[in-house]
């Protein structure tokens, strides 16, 4: 029952947030230099006065602002994100077509960053103050300072151009004719470089967080008790420290994971990965504002959804979370 109320509460909050983003989008369109009708006419490739006037009437741009806002919100509630003249398709369809590739990329990147981040953090904390610790924290600092897109480009250069180990372009081999398992393997090969480079920054974040959290928990009394009763170090580290240290890391990781969607714009641009990030880049170049704002809205929706899901998962795993509220 408590879970049901929580879900309801979160969904209402999510709906309010999304509505606010829709209003923000609307305001942004009107803040854009130039008349939206003229922009649309430009996108459609014609710009005479009569056509612009027709567009203005057809899209209600001659109406007062609050009526326009009402219509805009109404459309979006019906999943109508407008039409992309550049791509010749409704924005919503364009996004849905590209969404699976982005989900695959960001979720893999999230998994990689969390797995390696925690592993590196644990390894560093076990060697605190020694060379191994310095090397790992040094690597984390370096990843933390590396621009995502540059890491992606350098990975293409090294692993694809120079070594020829992995493909540095696209989602699957064009005209490869793979089916079933061999197709999955082909996609996996194409996924490795983009997912790894997208995950690098957060890998660094999780390494630092895990290390700090492990060191903090190691100071606690129950660890001393475990040591006093003669448990081997390895067991204490795994069963007592790690389990307690992981919780704050995973909680924060879940909340930050949404930001990967933003980073995907860069990664997908470098690797020509056919997701919504690439769509955003294309719409930038074409000045296709409908698509740009549509992708923005959908990625925000993804972030909110992801946050709700992680929140619920933690409540199920650890009943202490949320119990105090």
């Amino acid at each position: 029952m408590a879970i049901a109320t929580t879900v309801l509460g979160r969904l209402i909050k999510a709906a309010i947030t999304l509505l606010a983003i829709v209003v923000l989008n609307f305001l942004l369109i009107h803040a854009a230099p130039g008349d939206p009708a003229a922009v649309m006419a430009g996108e459609a490739g014609a710009a005479d006065e009569i056509f612009i006037a027709q567009l203005r009437e057809r899209f209600g741009l001659d109406q007062p602002l609050y009526v326009q806002l009402w219509n805009y919100v109404g459309n979006i509630i019906q999943f109508d994100l407008g039409y992309s003249y550049r791509q010749g398709a409704p924005v919503f369809d364009l996004i849905m077509e590209r969404l699976p590739a982005t989900l695959l990329l960001t979720l893999t990147a999230f998994g990689i960053s969390l797995l390696f981040g925690v592993a590196m953090g644990v390894a560093a904390s076990a060697r605190v103050g020694r060379a191994g610790d310095s090397i790992i924290t040094g690597i984390a600092l370096l990843f933390y300072a590396t621009p995502l897109y540059w890491a992606a480009l350098m990975a293409v250069l090294v692993f694809s151009v120079w070594l020829g180990w992995l493909p540095g372009f696209g989602y699957e081999t064009v005209g490869g004719g793979f089916t079933g398992l061999s197709r999955a393997l082909d996609i996996l090969k194409h996924l490795i470089l983009p997912a790894t480079t997208l995950g690098l920054f957060f890998m660094a974040v999780y390494t630092r967080m895990t290390r700090a959290s492990m060191l903090e928990v190691a100071q606690m009394d129950f660890v001393k008790t475990a040591r006093a009763k003669g448990l081997p170090d390895r067991v204490i580290r795994r069963r007592h420290i790690l389990r307690n240290a992981l919780l704050p890391v995973v909680t924060l990781a879940g909340l930050q994971a949404g930001q990967l969607v933003g980073g995907a714009v860069l990664t997908e641009t470098v690797f020509a990965w056919p997701g919504i990030g690439r769509l955003m880049f294309e719409s930038l170049q074409a000045r296709d504002y409908n698509t740009l704002l549509g992708v923005f809205l959908i990625s925000a929706a993804m972030v909110i959804l992801f946050n709700i899901v992680t929140d619920l998962v933690y409540r199920l795993i650890d009943p202490r979370i949320g119990a105090t509220r």
Partner: protein
Amino acid sequence: MSDFWSRFSRNRGAILGLVLLATVIIVALIAPLLFPKGPWQMVQRPFLTPFATEGLPLGTDTLGRDVAAGLAYGARVSLLVGLVSTLVALAIGVPLGAVAGYYGGWVDEAAMRFTEFFQTIPNFALAIVLVAILEPTLTSITLAIAIVSWPPVARLVRAEVLSLSKREFVDAAQLAGLSNRRILLGQILPNAMSPIIVMASLMVATAILLESSLAFLGLGDPNIMSWGYMIGAARTVIRSAWWLSFFPGLAIVITVLALNLIGEGLNDAMNPHLNRKGRA
């Protein structure tokens, strides 16, 4: 002060960061002296490899422009945008967080909902949308970065003010008849300065990364040479001319790393009571 300096300099990484950052700042300042022709001028034929031609240590780009000149001028925009956008973000986040933390109640509730909203939106995507729609200029880029970076400041300041306002010196100030405004500005905020300064130094680093990412996507000010633009322009020729993307990226890594190291050093020096081992 000397106490501060001795704690700061005990951190070797922080000293390294300071040296690196000082180098970048000096190069940015004397760029017009080093490269009087500016970064846009064609100086030689295109695609000259680095370390091969006299006077062009880093080679030339796709249009025959001097890569080294681009790097020097790029440092200016990176540092400028990083610094100014951080100041703007502080100007939004500090008052909002301070008011929320000090007055509490519905003010706090409203301010924190507002902050949460901005934290939920994927911040890089928001920055892209803002710059694209307002047209890329130095001002719009700086503003967009500030708009996506202030929420953590507001939260930090709120938490600091909340805990400081329960302290005795605040009670004393109240008894002495100081107005709320004077207590907040004169008593509480000065005591919250050190975590704000540490956060600000890390924010400059993040802002530089954001600026370069925007420029890489073609959302840089078209009249200003920047590191991100150089990498973006060389993206398609990565197979034949690796150095065009490599050097600007290295410049970004060095600058951002330097700022992060300095931030950690400041953290050690300003919060000596924190357990060093527990530092993340």
